[in-house]
């Protein structure tokens, strides 16, 4: 792969600036560069080049002094994100330094950040689902939040467009509440999942257990290799088998010759020209030198990740926008959402003890939403719904500390007995957009670059709690009816943010009085600024959002390029 052009000194003016290089920023870079625009990508962290910078991708436990675990110093450095339970020696360099990047939890909120080229596209769960008409109509129908300015059919061609490029593996079902993507062959369910699927679909009309739909290649695709089932994705994949900006969109942007990427560039604010009535560039802080400088462009895509994007817009004050760029409605920073997390049930499957699996599948099962999808599935306790992720596995030596005994027999069993088949499902519930779930700039708490930090004030309310209760009840009931034993329902009472699906705070809408962005993700009153990351979301569905960010981004880029050609921006 050609080296990236990082010489942003040569030129301070571009056709387009993209702030952020993660899931949606990578797509913006690719689309704009391929559309012929000289594009500058501002990345606040370091460069991470595909393969070359995946420094831990082949580590085995025994190669590491502490076998992959991290000690008190690293725990302190990642004192926020450590709550996920995901951080270890092999992936810690892809998580932001929480000590250098503080934020205030007015109420408990976990904000997981990844400050490097590729952002969280290196760390994401790869679960990839289309949103449905049900999702885009939800606000209008039940009156929560404001109406989406688009419908499923507006996005459908763009789902198709990005899916064919990304490569999504999965199985088509024809369900209206979970539209099918263009699929590569699905991964396999294991024998216990197949058995539970049969039992579940027999016991519960309208519920389905399917293999997760994921942005992992099950066959070679667009020059990338297929998944090798190592399940070491969060170290970076040397085969390019899962979708990330680093392995897919940024290299594609680079080959056009139109891309410049500037690392260590913290976007401070978007520059608004009062006379022209539009944005003219981005003010950045070089994170290494502390120097402040300005880059100029005709259009700006803000893809810094939900809360950082909003932070930048809030920092972008002018006479025209004293409360932040595009904040005529007063909704900037409001309507923060996430999915509820780790509520469900687990149990033991008796039988098939002579069966095992081969390979480490970076995927599990999915049970699509079945509540409030039609007249027959209406709940009187909550609006919206939830889906489940989960899977069956044998704990292997990881479960041996619970095994009875010690000594010769114990050691023999530890090596030879993978333990019982365990099965779990855990729900992801939709959160409603509430005006008082919000972020604000805290000017009394500055980061090391002198920037006001964010104060996050967000909580689950009655509807989310009712959904969580239903998740647990349903999960236990399903496991019971599927004949599992040793069943335990759980609700870890995680605060928002744990889903790492934060959405909202600069929502799209039909009315500039109640929303920040229009139907093509442009700031209503400053149309050469586009926001296509999670900040733009008007509601949050119960399915994983990344595919929708990609589709919205590609669609907005297409609009931007066409408007530029017409000289409308």
């Amino acid at each position: 792969m050609a080296n990236f052009n990082i010489d942003a000194k040569k030129d301070m003016t571009y056709d387009a600036i993209v702030i952020g290089s993660g899931m949606s920023g990578g797509w913006a870079a690719k689309e704009l560069c391929e559309g012929g625009l000289k594009t500058l990508v501002l990345e606040r962290g370091r460069l991470v080049e595909h393969i070359k910078d995946y420094t831990t991708m082949n580590n085995e436990s025994w190669d590491l002094e502490l076998r992959g675990a991290i000690g008190p110093d690293d725990k302190k450095k990642h004192y926020k994100a450590i709550r996920t339970g995901f951080i270890g020696e092999n992936n810690k360099h892809f998580y932001a330094n929480d000590e250098e990047n503080p934020y205030t939890e007015v109420k408990p909120f976990l904000w997981v950040r990844a400050h490097q080229m590729g952002g969280r596209s290196l760390l994401w769960g790869k679960q990839t689902y289309r949103w449905s008409q049900l999702d885009f109509e939800a606000n209008a129908k039940d009156g929560h939040g404001v109406d989406w300015p688009i419908r499923y059919q507006d996005l459908e061609p763009w789902y198709t467009y990005v899916e064919k490029y990304v490569g999504i593996s999965g199985e088509a079902l024809g369900l209206p509440q979970l539209p099918d993507s263009h699929f590569l062959p699905p991964m396999e369910l294991n024998c216990v999942e197949k058995e539970i699927k049969q039992r579940l679909e027999k016991e519960f009309q309208g519920r389905h257990l399917i293999i997760g739909r994921v942005a992992h290649l099950t066959v070679p695709h667009n020059g990338r290799g297929k998944c090798q089932f190592r399940n070491r994705c969060d170290r970076g994949c040397p085969f390019g088998a899962y979708f990330s900006s680093n392995s897919v969109t940024l290299p594609a942007a680079n080959v056009t010759g139109n891309l410049t990427i500037r690392p260590f560039s913290i976007a401070h604010s978007i520059i608004y020209d009062e006379t022209l009535g539009k944005a003219t560039g981005v003010k950045i802080i070089d994170s290494e030198t502390g120097e402040m400088m300005e880059y100029h462009a005709k259009i700006i895509f803000c893809n810094a990740s939900t809360l950082s994007t909003t932070q930048i817009l809030m920092n972008s004050t002018s006479t025209r926008f004293p409360n932040g760029l595009g904040n005529d409605s007063g909704e900037l920073g409001h309507n923060l959402m996430d999915h509820t997390y780790r509520v469900g049930a687990l149990g033991t499957f008796e039988g098939l003890e002579d069966r095992y699996y081969k390979g480490r599948r970076p995927n599990g099962i999915y049970i699509p939403r079945y509540w409030n999808i039609d007249d027959n599935s209406k709940s009187d306790k909550f609006v919206r719904g939830f889906g489940f992720q989960g899977g069956a596995y044998r704990p292997g030596w990881g479960g041996a500390a619970n095994m009875e005994g010690f000594g010769e027999e114990f050691k023999d069993s530890l090596l030879k007995n993978p333990g019982p088949w365990e099965f779990f499902i855990t729900g992801f519930a939709e959160c409603l957009p509430y005006h008082d779930n919000k972020v604000t700039l805290d000017k009394n708490s500055l980061d090391k670059w002198g920037q006001a930090t964010l104060a996050i004030d967000c909580e689950w309310k009655a509807n989310e709690l009712a959904l969580n209760q239903q998740i647990q009840e349903d999960a236990v009931e399903m496991l019971e009816k599927c004949g599992l034993s040793n069943i335990e329902g759980f609700d870890q009472k995680h605060e928002p943010g744990f889903g790492i699906h934060e959405m909202g705070t600069a929502r799209m809408g039909r009315d500039p009085k109640t929303s920040v962005l229009n139907a093509t993700n442009q700031v209503h009153a400053c149309q050469n600024v586009f926001v296509t990351d999670g900040a733009c979301m008007t509601s949050n569905s119960c399915v994983n959002p990344s595919l929708t960010y990609m589709a919205l981004t590609a669609r907005a880029c297409n609009h931007a390029i066409s408007e530029l050609k017409k000289q409308n921006l």
Binding site: L346, D354, Y357, K358, F410
Partner: protein, 197 residues
């Protein structure tokens, strides 16, 4: 003679890689006494003897290597030293003293000086009295986790250290670093052992 000293002397003599028969037999004879053959970073000599004896009782050498062969005790010392924070370090010291104390009040001597039968009986009791780890979802235990206590945490550490050691992880357990495919239903007998990874 201290085993570490011995090895050092051998190295000085320039024969570190080729131990003479006589030196080798001296090394072996040292191992039969409850005397520490390594220098701990964190543990006191008394606690190090306890950890080594626990590891040997939990994971003895059979036709497969034992915990001590895999230097599980040395690794546990490194874990206490580098992974435990101050609070956890203080706690584990207190727990080790308490464990030894219980042993003394029952048998009049510390754990590492007990004979095999006594060690077995003592651990059997510890096993019966120690809560288990809750099951987890995506790396985090669900439900309210009761403290598992000294015995089960040491057992857990020892199992982890043993199974992630190079020889056990790559030669004894089924090891397949690049599987290539996922097969969801294969006979256990075909895999043979638990997966390493």
């Amino acid at each position: 003679m201290n085993r570490r000293e011995l090895l050092k002397n051998t190295a000085i003599l320039g024969g570190a890689s080729v131990l003479s028969t006589s030196l080798f037999s001296i090394l072996q004879s040292c191992q039969s006494e409850p005397r520490l053959g390594w220098t701990p970073t964190f543990l006191s000599p008394e606690h190090a003897l306890l950890v080594s004896a626990l590891v040997d009782t939990l994971l003895p050498k059979t036709n497969t290597p034992g915990g001590l062969d895999m230097k599980v005790d040395l690794f546990m010392d490194a874990v206490f030293s580098k992974l435990y924070d101050d609070k956890a370090q203080e706690a584990v010291v207190v727990e080790m003293d308490a464990f030894n104390q219980q042993c003394r009040s029952k048998y009049g001597k510390p754990f590492y000086e007990l004979d095999a039968t006594q060690k077995g009986a003592f651990l059997k009791e510890a096993e019966a009295n120690s809560p288990k780890f809750n099951r987890g979802v995506w790396g985090t235990a669900v439900g309210e986790q009761k403290p598992v206590g000294f015995y089960r945490s040491m057992k857990s550490l020892a199992v982890w250290a043993y199974c992630t050691s190079q020889e056990v992880g790559s030669e004894i357990l089924a090891y397949d670093p690049v599987p290539g495919d996922y097969l969801g239903c294969v006979p256990l007998s075909e895999v043979g052992t638990v997966w390493s990874l």
